[in-house]
Amino acid sequence: MILLKTVNLRKQFGDTKACDGLDFIVHKGEFLSLVGSNGAGKTTLVNLISAHLQPDSGQILFEDRDITSATVADRIKAGIARSFQIVNLFDGLSVFDNVALSIFSREGKTVKMAALAEHDHEVRAETLEVLGEFGLSDKAEVLAGGLAQGERKLLDVAVAYALRPRLLFLDEPTSGVSTRDKAQIMDTVSSVVRGGQVTAVVIEHDMDVVFRYSDRIVMMHEGAFLADGTPDEIRANKDVASILLGAPLAS
């Protein structure tokens, strides 16, 4: 079942075609990896779908509803959430508050000002649950700005996940962390996302990570799709190998 579909989506920066008429499809329940070299257009595609950028032309359909001109808030309400390539947290707030804020926002409780945030037992319980899933329970009272990079990456995903989206975009969730932390982060993220039956689109450069965790892989190159298939199909694709190794394309 198709969850998200873009039709002839275009975005150009000067002469550079970041998204050159993309027809992108995400199926419900899949763990999809978006790969490609720097400047291939992966982040631009995610920015367009999450309303961080407006497309020059084309359509974005989420559950068959046209959301091309919907605001960020409306897309979040519809069930689309994202994390960022560079960790984007509320550093002056505790780890607990970072996650709780997502839940307050989702529940429409952010305008409440006559009661203490910590006295909302439902939000408190759910926050603790999410922190537990991401292995951050013992850091709950620590300021987000004081976390180690791997923990910050996990919290970044947890903040987006706490919105309980149906479609979650993760922009390089393992960038800037050690190889050991990468596996730990991806194990956690994959288990939480699959356990929560959330459809995930992950932008990732590390092909070991991509092959290990993905149901489907889409490769981008110069604003267009180059390949689309299962990890085995992509592994066997010579064009993909050429791009990844920096050699000319086979065809």
Binding site: F90, D97, V111, L116, L163
Partner: protein
């Protein structure tokens, strides 16, 4: 895990109440312990603290630096003066009942314009709008008294239950008005404390820390900034309403940009990154300015030097520095 986390948070509220209780007790006992002049000075200090507390909801919690909060302080004072001039009653409760909605409405209107921008553009807009009000107060002298201002006589308190006349009326007023302001101060502190620890307050802090991420949680940034502006302006306006019966006169000076600077100074002095900073800053600044003015005609120079030292040596303000000191003493082995 739930129990583990719940305990320290509940304790922190109790700890705060335990720390506030002795301070409140001292404040209650002050009139019996010090000369009446000091009581009057402390009343001014508490009023300045309310103004700084309101201002800091924008600076410390929302990340917006207003250079025009004199507008709301002055507006509160002039609203009271106009009530006296046109409606006649000399009742503090009437002043508050009319003054607060006036300040809230004007804060909402001006805030709606200002929060469309951030950073320097926000600061300049707030400054410009406050200067417009200053000019109006100065130029419409047939209504505002121009540079002479408008007189506000001593009001009755508690709906006429307490009135002050006769030879000892002024001294009685100073003492009882101190308690009146202290009550308002405690109420303002409690209300503001709840606001900044509510989901709304957390949302403001999130916007301050990372506007982009806040937007991607579905938070409508401008709306939150606007509400914060409205609350901030109203609190500062309440300070203006409380100030004018004590001063007995309102003049355009309190609408001028230098008065906004004093509110900013108070917040910096106490420390704008913590809740109690602006309260301490407001009170300390009142004493600092009073004694600087009494000591030297170059008092502005003296305050300037203090400000420079503050920024260079104590960037976290008095409360921030004390908190750091307490932390380092705590860490030191016995």
């Amino acid at each position: 895990m739930k129990a583990d986390l719940k305990a320290p948070r509940t304790r922190s509220v109790l700890k705060l109440a335990a720390a506030a209780a002795p301070i409140l007790l001292v404040l209650i006992l002050v009139p019996g312990l010090v000369p009446i002049y000091q009581v009057q000075l402390l009343t001014y200090g508490l009023i300045a603290a309310i103004a700084a507390l309101g201002f800091n909801l924008l600076l410390g919690y929302t990340g917006l630096l207003s250079f025009g909060h004199s507008a709301y302080f002055g507006l509160g004072a002039y609203a009271v003066a106009f009530v006296v001039q046109y409606l006649g009653p000399h009742s503090m409760e009437v002043y508050l009942l009319i003054g607060i909605p006036v300040v809230a409405i004007v804060s909402a209107l001006l805030g709606y314009i200002c929060v469309r921008h951030t950073q320097i553009f926000f600061g300049i807009l707030t400054l410009a709008l406050s200067q417009v009000l200053y000019s109006l107060a100065l130029k419409f002298y047939w209504e505002t008294g121009g540079s002479d201002g408008l007189r506000v006589p001593r009001p009755d308190l508690l709906f006429g239950l307490l009135s002050f006349s006769g030879p000892r009326g002024f001294l009685q007023f100073l003492t009882l008005y101190y308690y009146y302001v202290l009550t308002a101060f405690v109420l303002c502190v409690v209300i503001m404390w709840v606001i900044v620890h509510s989901p709304f307050g957390k949302t403001l802090q999130a916007i301050r820390d990372n506007e982009v991420r806040a937007r991607f949680l579905g938070i409508r940034i401008r709306r939150f900034r606007w509400i914060a502006f409205l609350i901030s302006g109203t609190f500062t306006g309440i300070a203006g309403i409380l100030w004018v019966p004590l001063n007995g006169l309102t003049t355009p000076d309190i609408l001028y940009w230098t008065f906004s600077g004093e509110i900013v100074f108070s917040a910096l002095l106490g420390g704008f990154r913590n809740f109690t900073g602006p309260i301490v800053g407001g009170i300390v600044f009142t004493y600092l300015k009073t004694y600087a003015v009494a000591t030297t005609e170059y008092w502005q120079l003296l305050l300037g030097v203090v400000l420079v030292i503050l920024v260079l040596v104590l960037p976290t303000g008095i409360v921030g520095a004390l908190a750091k000191l307490a932390q380092s003493l705590k860490r030191r082995p016995a």
